[in-house]
């Protein structure tokens, strides 16, 4: 029975030489790569052989020609990850020169490979950065926790990717960085926490929409409870209100302690995106009217 193990990996693309080094070390310890994945790789125990590994990145047009070109020089193709990283190994023979374990033997071809990744990362970083900018503008115009979270999450992801793209784009950069894993962790933690925060915030955020109208009324309303709502997330909320009436109508929002948060009396009134800081609790929407009217109320 062969002994297998799965290892979770944390290498960023711009630190891929660190992965090569670890694969070589594992092979020396008797663990041979069977299948490489994006987040975990499978190894089989075999102490009788030693391999050297190499990684290549790119969208390969002719896989047959590709694998043949590597096989000719003793490279065994292992597999590719879905995001176009290709894994190769060659049996280690200490009598061969170090250059026979390189797959890129000139600066131009290495730059072509790392440049391909950098180009993709620059585009992604720009798209994500643009989205972050849009949410920053929205945050400035209408401060709300959701926009803050979206701006921070997208902004940090864009910055980490941009840094990675700069490293990959520089042919002289070191791509075997011992301490660089922290940037990958920042990327992953921000992604998970950001998404969780965005989903939670969206679910907790209160939305109210209500419209009321009446013809000439027999019995006038005085502070009649029109609607109630619960605020679970303390945040800035934005009020849209439309009043059209013959005689004055009063719309009031009161909190649990019957304190007035907002009130307006008018026959003709229109406001959009009026900022109301609301804390956690139950709220009541009250209406006073004595004749025909139409009122639309929205809270977001």
């Amino acid at each position: 029975m062969s002994e297998y193990k799965t290892r979770y990996k944390a290498y960023s693309a711009w630190n891929y030489e660190n992965e090569i080094e670890e694969l070589n070390k594992l092979s020396e310890d008797g663990w041979q790569l069977v299948k490489a994945g994006n987040y975990h790789s499978k190894f089989v125990k075999n102490p009788d052989i030693r391999y050297r590994y190499q990684l290549d990145y790119g969208n390969i047009e002719d896989m047959g020609r590709y694998i043949e070109t590597f096989r000719e020089q003793g490279w065994e193709y292992i597999n590719s990850t879905y995001n176009h990283w290709h894994y190769f190994r060659k049996v280690y023979d200490p009598s061969l020169p170090a250059s026979s374990y390189e797959i890129f033997t000139d600066r131009e071809s290495l730059k072509e490979m790392t440049g391909r990744w950098a180009k993709t990362a620059f585009v992604m970083s720009a798209v994500i950065g643009l989205m972050a900018l849009i949410y920053l503008i929205m945050l400035i115009r209408m401060p709300q926790i959701l926009y803050l979270l979206l701006f921070l999450t997208l902004g940090i992801e864009s910055a980490v990717l941009f840094r990675g793209a700069l490293i990959m784009n520089d042919p002289d950069a070191n791509r075997n960085r011992k301490g660089d894993t922290k940037f990958l962790y920042v990327f992953l933690i921000v992604l998970v926490l950001g998404c969780a925060g965005i989903i939670t915030t969206s679910a907790l955020h209160t939305h109210v929409y209500s419209t009321q109208q009446a013809g000439s009324m027999d019995s006038p309303k005085t502070d009649e409870v029109w609607n109630t709502f619960t605020v679970r997330l303390p945040d800035y909320y934005y009020l849209d209100l439309d009043i059209g009436s013959v005689s004055p109508v009063t719309v009031t929002i009161v909190d649990e302690d019957e304190e007035t948060v907002f009130t307006k009396t008018s026959t003709d009134f229109h406001v959009e995106n009026m900022r109301l800081p609301l804390s956690r609790g139950e709220y009541k929407l009250l209406l006073s009217a004595s004749s025909g009217f139409k009122v639309t109320f929205a809270l977001d």
């Binding site: 190499q54 290549d56 047009e61 002719d62 020609r65 590709y66 043949e68 070109t69 590597f70 000719e72 020089q73 490279w75 190769f88 250059s99 026979s100 390189e102 797959i103 890129f104 033997t105 000139d106 131009e108 071809s109 290495l110 072509e112 490979m113």
Partner: protein
């Protein structure tokens, strides 16, 4: 790369090796090492990229070997335009060398 832009060392040696006749990647690699007395090596990644790019430029083309009794194999062959590029590059290198000798 424009036609008159200097060739990279790998491109130059690949074209040079193919000027002697069609060859496969491994043959090009061996011939390069022999010609350069081990100074120039062409790794698999460099070879795949360089041959792919030069096929797109039309400097070389892919053919299948039809030697009887031997496994059919992918070979690269120099095209007319590839031969022209190589000759231009050799002429350019010769000019550089002559200039160096004049100084």
């Amino acid at each position: 790369m424009k036609k008159n832009e200097p060739l990279s060392e790998s491109y130059y040696y690949i074209l040079l090796c193919l000027s002697k006749g069609a060859n496969h990647g491994y043959g090009i690699m061996q011939m390069t090492e022999k010609l350069s007395k081990g100074d120039v090596t062409i790794g698999s990644g460099t070879m795949y990229g360089a041959t792919g790019n030069m096929m797109k430029k039309g400097w070389i083309r892919e053919i299948m070997s039809d030697e009887p009794g031997v496994e059919r194999r992918r070979l690269y062959q120099l095209t007319e335009s590839g031969r022209e590029v190589l000759h231009e590059e050799i002429a350019r290198l010769r000019r550089l060398l002559e200039n160096a000798e004049e100084v």
